[in-house]
């Protein structure tokens, strides 16, 4: 087999993403015709006179925000997963590790119980996620033990506690309305994401992604362990701190607009490693594209497969769990 270079792989994935994006734009209840989409795009660009206003509105105000939300969320969760796996030198770690998802769930559930609207719900989910990370990173400091294992255990403690809090909230919630909202939120959906919400998270998305991508070589060194990283002259505390904050911000903002979507942060980095190996300078960019592609496919399936919206976590679980088993099987020599 001829060796494919990294840039060729990236180009291939990017082209694939664009093709899928266009395909996804064409799929929907109103019209399934790609030509209609081209027409709508051309009319938006002012190349032709507006012909089908409804189609144009659907493409730009219904499908587009949702599709971009799916791609952003996939990319963010996958990237933060790869970064977490690198610095915790553990390929079985996922963005849920530091309690981010549980924290965000508690935040969102609180907003639902208090009768807040969509925007407050997202804000609370975001702050809930951040609060959880803060808590998780504080515990090792209290114990004066800065090891990775302590951090992972601390994540389990915080996650467990927050899940109990969430259970109380579900228990006291009014079954018909509030409880179903919480449960639905926990299953994840990008169906109702608006352009404004995407714009609101884009600064976080941009800054954190750029920081993580530019620190990718340092993630390689951190993945050797603390002894080696320190004797190679790295300021572990500072750089690991930046990476944890960035990855957690990405997760929290993704979860705040889509609810919890499982599996992506775990399996996409594994898929990436199968394609380009463990070197994070190659792995992180590939993970971003793969995450976006995966989520785009999942969300398009979620809205097009049946006449009812399928919650994302159901699909990611059905696709994710067997894929993860397969990936582990392929890598069986490398997991000890």
């Amino acid at each position: 087999m001829k060796k494919i270079t990294h840039s060729q792989q990236m180009l291939f994935l990017f082209v694939l993403l664009v093709i899928l994006l266009f395909f996804s734009l064409s799929v929907g209840r109103y019209s399934n015709n790609p030509l209609d989409v081209i027409q709508a795009l051309r009319s938006k660009l002012g190349l032709v006179l507006q012909t089908d206003v409804a189609m144009e509105n659907i493409v730009f105000y219904v499908r587009m925000p949702r599709i971009f939300a799916a791609m952003f969320i996939g990319a963010m969760l996958a990237l933060s997963g790869a970064a977490y796996q690198g610095i915790f030198k553990n390929p079985l770690v996922s963005p849920d590790l530091l309690g981010v998802s549980s924290g965000a769930c508690v935040g969102a559930a609180a907003a639902i119980l208090l009768g807040f609207g969509m925007i407050e719900r997202q804000l609370l989910a975001f702050w809930g996620g951040l609060f959880a990370v803060l808590l998780t990173t504080t515990i090792p400091k209290l114990f004066r033990n800065n090891s990775n294992m302590m951090m992972v255990l601390s994540g389990i403690i915080v996650g467990g506690f927050l899940n109990a809090v969430l259970a109380i909230m579900k228990f006291v919630a009014e079954a018909q309305t509030e409880l179903s909202s919480i449960v639905f939120w926990q299953m994840g959906s990008v169906a109702s994401v608006k352009k404004a919400e995407l714009l609101a998270i884009s600064p976080v998305l941009l800054i954190c992604s750029i920081l993580l991508l530019s620190l990718s070589w340092r993630i390689n060194i951190l993945s050797f362990g603390e002894v080696e990283a320190k004797t190679l002259g790295m300021n572990i505390k500072k750089i690991r701190g930046i990476i944890i904050i960035c990855a957690s911000l990405l997760t929290a903002s993704a979860v705040s607009i889509s609810g919890t979507v499982g599996w992506i942060g775990l399996i996409i980095p594994h898929l990436g490693r199968l394609l380009v190996g463990s070197d994070h300078t190659k792995l992180l960019p590939v993970t971003v594209l793969l995450g976006a592609i995966f989520m785009l496919v999942v969300d398009t399936t979620a809205r097009a497969l049946t006449s009812v919206e399928i919650p994302l976590s159901i699909l990611t679980g059905f696709i994710g769990a067997p894929s993860f088993a397969y990936l582990l099987y392929r890598q069986r020599a490398k997991v000890s």
Binding site: S214, N220, T231, L232, G233, M234, G277, K334
Partner: protein, 258 residues
């Protein structure tokens, strides 16, 4: 180049001191073997010099600069470290692993460039393991990993290289190979400090000896001055014999029959 270790002590929080009042210095071209019984603090002493562990008392001074006030990056330019157990969580290519030795010379957001890969390739060539360059780190043997780690320490271009039991997980052939490499590094003006459980290695390397006896008392000096049968007994609690083997033109440390 000189690293001066002055009256260094180490104690775990709230425990009795592990060692105290350790003083010696490391100069370019020197080989220093740290000897001592299990649990006496050999590795802890090495970790103190490697800037991994902060001594409870005393100073470690690199060319007139107190290590406590130096950035980790500056320390890493002077001191390279070859860890004992190398567990790989990810399957990096050997060359990618060795090139991380250049990290102290790169900015936080910088990535290794052509010139750094050249340094890494030279280090691999110096160790005679260029053929491993594109192998996955997880697929090479323990002996090869040890050599790859040393290659990375060379790519770091430090003045002094510290090795924590460099022969611990190696077969006898590879042990001698690593000792030869250490000898050659000293000839190339690197200072080398290693911990070992085998006093014969100190005799083979013919360098300095930094030793703790069973009571934790520290001695430092040339191997000829420090290593005698009485002293070896005080370290290991058994009778060891120093035999002059004419055929090999060397003194060997051997255990009596059981």
């Amino acid at each position: 180049m000189e690293i001066a270790i002055t009256q260094v002590s180490y104690a775990y929080k709230g425990c009795k001191e592990l060692f105290n009042n350790v003083s010696f210095s490391i100069k370019s071209g020197q080989i220093i073997c740290i000897l001592g019984p299990n649990g006496i603090g050999k590795t802890t002493l090495l970790n103190c010099i490697a800037n991994l562990t902060l001594p409870s008392q005393g100073h470690i001074v690199i060319d007139g600069h107190d290590m406590k006030r130096m950035l980790p990056q500056e320390v890493a330019k002077a001191i390279g470290f070859v860890p004992q157990i190398i567990e790989a969580s990810f399957d990096y290519e050997v060359l990618e692993y060795v090139v991380t030795g250049c990290a102290p010379r790169l900015g936080t957001f910088e990535r290794p460039k052509e010139q750094h890969y050249l340094v890494a390739k030279n280090a691999l060539a110096q160790m005679g393991i260029s053929h491993l360059s594109h192998k996955a780190y997880t697929e090479i043997s323990g002996g090869e990993r040890q050599q790859v780690s040393i290659a990375r320490a060379l790519a770091q271009q430090p003045k002094v290289i510290l090795m924590d039991e460099p022969t611990a997980h190696l077969d006898y052939g590879n042990q001698i190979k690593v000792l030869k490499i250490i000898k050659r590094m000293a000839a190339e003006r690197y200072g080398v400090v290693l911990t070992t459980h085998n006093p014969d290695q100190a005799l083979l390397l013919k360098g300095k000896v930094a030793a703790f006896n069973k009571k934790g008392e520290f001695s430092f000096g040339d191997y000829k001055e420090v290593l005698n049968e009485t002293f070896l007994r005080s370290i290991y609690g058994i009778d060891l014999h120093l035999c002059d083997i004419e055929e090999l033109d060397r003194i060997a440390c051997v255990a009596p029959k059981l």
